[in-house]
Structure formats: C-alpha cells, structure tokens
C-alpha cells in the first residue's frame, strides 16, 4: 500500500475525485446561489472524467449532455426565475450541527464500508465500452426498463406542465370558492 505502485489511471482517478469532492463541498457550503450552480458544473464535469477513465464512454458523454448541459441550465434558470440575489445571501443555511453529524456519518460510514470491502486491490483497467455495445445491452437485456422509463418521462413531462400552468390550478380554486 504505497504511493509508488500507483499508475497513471490511479493518478487521474485521484485528481478527478479530489476535484469532484472539493467542488461538491463548495456546492453545499457556498453562500452565492449562482456560484453553487457553477461549482456543480465543475463537480459533474469531473465525475464525467471519472467515467471516461473507468471505460464508460457513453455514460460520460450523456453525463456532459444531460447533467452539465440540461440539468444545470434548468437549475440556473430556476435561480433566475425565483429572483435570487446576485451577491452572497446570508439566509441560505439552517443550523449546521445536525446536518454535519448525519452527513459525515453517512459519508464516512459508506467510505469505511467500501474501503473495508475493496482494500487496495488492483483491478485490470477496463476496455473502453463503445456506444454500440451499450446500445445492444439496453435494447437487449434492458429493453423493458427502458420502455418503462419512457413512460415515466412522459408522466414527468405532463406533471411539470400541469404544475406550471396557472390556469389549471386557478380554475379548480374558483370552483372550490363557488361551493
């Protein structure tokens, strides 16, 4: 268990992991709403780098497209639509001790569990999986969950539209008032 037997892949994993965890810590501690969103971009981007090193190419690019591209933009739009202040805001946090105890307990407990399970075992570097292989898996063994997921996406789409249309909710309120 020395530093000497670390390979290039290990060094990359370590560097990306440190960036991901460090910017993740800034996401949950930053007092600027917009900066928290931008640190989230850094964290998710380095997680995409981790996927690349681990040989999951398609997952890495989907991560960049969907997370960094879509989800973060959606979150930043929500920051703007709720008229968040640009500067630091002091009322973003609740008292820290309970959250710190539970968060540290969960994180360090999981870390101890995984370190205990895998120790410093050396695994062969995986062959990079191609998108064709992944497509074959998804439309072969996993085609039923894939279809269920498409129904879930449709339900989420309809749900988001119903939630954000003011006239649908308002009509129900008007009926309730007349009764």
């Amino acid at each position: 268990m020395t530093i000497a037997n670390m390979t290039v892949a290990d060094a990359l994993l370590l560097a990306l992991g440190v960036i991901a965890v460090g910017s993740g810590a800034l996401v949950v501690t930053s007092t600027h709403l917009v900066r928290a969103g931008l640190y989230l971009v850094v964290s998710l981007g380095s997680v995409a780098g981790l996927y690349l090193v681990l040989g999951a190419e398609l997952v890495a690019w989907v991560q960049v497209l969907v997370y960094v591209g879509a989800v973060v933009v959606l979150l930043l739009f929500a920051v703007m639509l709720t008229r968040a202040p640009i500067g630091p805001s002091g009322d973003l946090d609740r008292p820290a001790w309970a959250a710190a105890i539970i968060g540290a307990g969960v994180g360090l407990g999981l870390a101890a569990l995984l370190v205990g399970a895998f120790h410093w075992t050396l695994y062969p570097l995986p062959v990079p999986g191609t998108a064709a292989q992944m497509g074959g898996e998804i439309f072969g063994a996993w085609v039923l969950p894939f279809e269920v997921l498409s129904i879930l996406l449709l339900a989420a789409l309809v749900g988001a539209i119903v939630l954000s249309r003011p006239d649908i909710g308002a009509r129900r309120n008007a009926e309730a008032d007349t009764h």
């Binding site: 670390m6 892949a9 994993l13 370590l14 990306l16 965890v21 993740g24 949950v28 709403l33 989230l40 998710l44 997680v47 981790l50 681990l54 999951a56 997952v59 989907v62 991560q63 969907v66 879509a70 989800v71 959606l74 979150l75 929500a78 920051v79 968040a84 009322d91 946090d93 609740r94 820290a96 309970a98 959250a99 710190a100 539970i102 968060g103 307990g105 969960v106 994180g107 360090l108 999981l110 870390a111 995984l114 370190v115 895998f118 410093w120 075992t121 695994y123 995986p126 292989q133 992944m134 898996e137 998804i138 063994a141 996993w142 997921l149 989420a156 749900g159 988001a160 939630l163 003011p166």
Partner: protein, 106 residues
Amino acid sequence: MHAVIPYLTGALLFGLGVYGVLRRRNAILVLMAVELMLNAVNVIFVTADVTVRGTGAHAGAVFALFVIVLAAAEVGVGLAIVLQYYRVRHAVAVDEVRLDDEKVPQ
C-alpha cells in the same frame, strides 16, 4: 487501477449530498445537493461495473444511464413545484413550508 479511489469519491460525494439536503434552506440548493447524491450513486454503479464480476456486461453503466434519466425527470418536476410555490408564496425556503395549510392564497 485501484477501484477504492472512485468508490471513496462516491461515498464522500454522497455524504456531501446528505449534508447539503439537510443544511440548505433554499429549495434550489436542496435540489443541487440531491443531484450530488445521484451522481455519487452513478459513480459507484460505474465502478462496480469494473470490479464486480457475474453481472451482465455493462449492467452498471446501463443502470447509471437510467439513473441519469430519472434525475432529469426529477429535476424537471422538482423545479416546476419550486417555481409554482414561489409564484404563490414568493419564497423558496423549505423550512417555511406549512404542510397543514389548506388555504390557497391569491
């Protein structure tokens, strides 16, 4: 490749996500912390794909893709709820939500 490094990354990211969900008052920051937790799970899935034998080929990566899709759906509906709540109450603080309040203010 020492698989314990990405596993450790995933565990610590999950802990940070739990901390963020419990600590933050702003609903959008809570959603960001939830994204961190989902990413931690994905890291562990993809690493398990490399280390755990006996599952199907690339089962972990396929699950990671499914989790990404679920996260996209979750953040869409979650932000719709947050924006609707902001429109009604002009606030996004989760600890000021009154769960027993039935009256809808206009």
